[in-house]
C-alpha cells in the first residue's frame, strides 16, 4: 500500500523504491510473488520493518514508499486515504509441534471448522476481534479509529483447514530456492510432516 499523496498507482513504479516488509513472513513472500510480475528481481528493494504496526507507520511517515500490510491494517490505511497498488492472498498454515497427537489435532480442527462456518455466516459480527486486538487498537485510535463498516468483507477469506498438496509444496519449495530463501541442499520433505493434517482430511 502507499500513502495518499504517493505518486505510485501501480506496481512498476516501485522499482528501486524501499518497501517495508517482515522478512521470512507472509508480507515478505507475498510481495515478492506480486512484484516479480512487474519488476526485475534486482530492482525489488525490500526492507525489514518487523510487525505490521511498524510497516504501517513507516509508510505513513514517508520513510518508505510502500508497505506490505494485512487486515485490519489495510482497512485502517484505506480509511486514511492510502491505496493498494497490488493485492494478493496467501495460505495460512497451522504449525504443530512434534508431540501433537493426531486425535487432538483432529479435535482442534473440528472446532475450527465450526468457527469458520460461523464466521462466514456473518463476518461483521466477528470483526471486533480484529479491531480490538491490543497490538492494533491503540494505533488505530491515533489514526481516527476503525469500525466494522470500514472493512471490505470479501477480502476476509476463511476456509476449512486441509492439507496442501505435494504439488503445492514442491512448487513453493522451488520458488523459495529460486529466491535464495531456502538452502537447496534441504529437500522439501525433510522439514514438512503432513501426517496429522492428512488424518483430518481423511476424516472429512
Amino acid at each position: 500500500m502507499v500513502r495518499p499523496e504517493s505518486d505510485h498507482y501501480y506496481p512498476s513504479s516501485l522499482a528501486n523504491k524501499p518497501i517495508a516488509v517482515q522478512f521470512h513472513a507472509g508480507s515478505h513472500y507475498t510481495v515478492l510473488r506480486l512484484l516479480e510480475g512487474y519488476i526485475p528481481a534486482e530492482k525489488i528493494k525490500l526492507l525489514h520493518y518487523g510487525s505490521p504496526r511498524y510497516r504501517f507507520e513507516a509508510m505513513m511517515s514517508g520513510e518508505v514508499d510502500a508497505a506490505m500490510l494485512m487486515e485490519p491494517w489495510i482497512s485502517l490505511a484505506e480509511k486514511n486515504g492510502c491505496r493498494a497498488v497490488c493485492e494478493g492472498h496467501y495460505l495460512g498454515a497451522e504449525n504443530a509441534s512434534d508431540n501433537m497427537d493426531e486425535e487432538t489435532f483432529a479435535a482442534i480442527n473440528r472446532a475450527v471448522i465450526k468457527a469458520v462456518d460461523l464466521i462466514n455466516s456473518d463476518k461483521k459480527r466477528f470483526l471486533h476481534y480484529l479491531i480490538d486486538q491490543p497490538k492494533f487498537a491503540p494505533v488505530a485510535k491515533e489514526w481516527g479509529g476503525l469500525t466494522v463498516d470500514d472493512f471490505h468483507l470479501p477480502r476476509l477469506r476463511y476456509a476449512h483447514p486441509r492439507p496442501y498438496t505435494e504439488e503445492q509444496l514442491e512448487d513453493t519449495y522451488n520458488w523459495m530456492v529460486r529466491w535464495d530463501l531456502l538452502n537447496s541442499s534441504i529437500c522439501a520433505t525433510d522439514f514438512v510432516d503432513n501426517r496429522a493434517v492428512d488424518s483430518v482430511a481423511a476424516d472429512d
Binding site: G50, M70, A93, N95, L156
Partner: protein, 72 residues
C-alpha cells in the same frame, strides 16, 4: 479436558481460533484451549538482507515449547 496451549499472531489469522474458544467449540471437543500471544517485532536496523533476520521472528513461544501449535 485436554489442555492445549496455542500461540496467536495477528487476529486476522487467529480469528477462527478465537471464535472457537469463545463459542465453546473447543470445549465441546474436550479441548481446554489457552492462548499465548506472539511477540511483536520492532527493529531499529532496517536491513535489506533477509539473512540478517532470524526466521523464527516472534514465534519464540513455539520455539521455547511454551505452546504446541501456531499459525502463520
Amino acid at each position: 479436558m485436554k489442555k492445549v496451549v496455542s500461540e496467536t499472531s495477528g487476529a486476522v489469522f487467529s480469528l477462527p481460533w478465537f471464535v472457537a474458544k469463545d463459542e465453546g467449540f473447543f470445549a465441546d471437543e474436550g479441548i481446554d484451549m489457552e492462548f499465548v500471544e506472539s511477540i511483536a517485532i520492532k527493529v531499529d536496523q532496517h536491513t535489506a538482507n533477509p539473512e540478517d533476520v532470524d526466521p523464527i521472528l516472534g514465534h519464540t513461544p513455539f520455539e521455547n515449547r511454551q505452546v504446541a501449535i501456531y499459525r502463520a
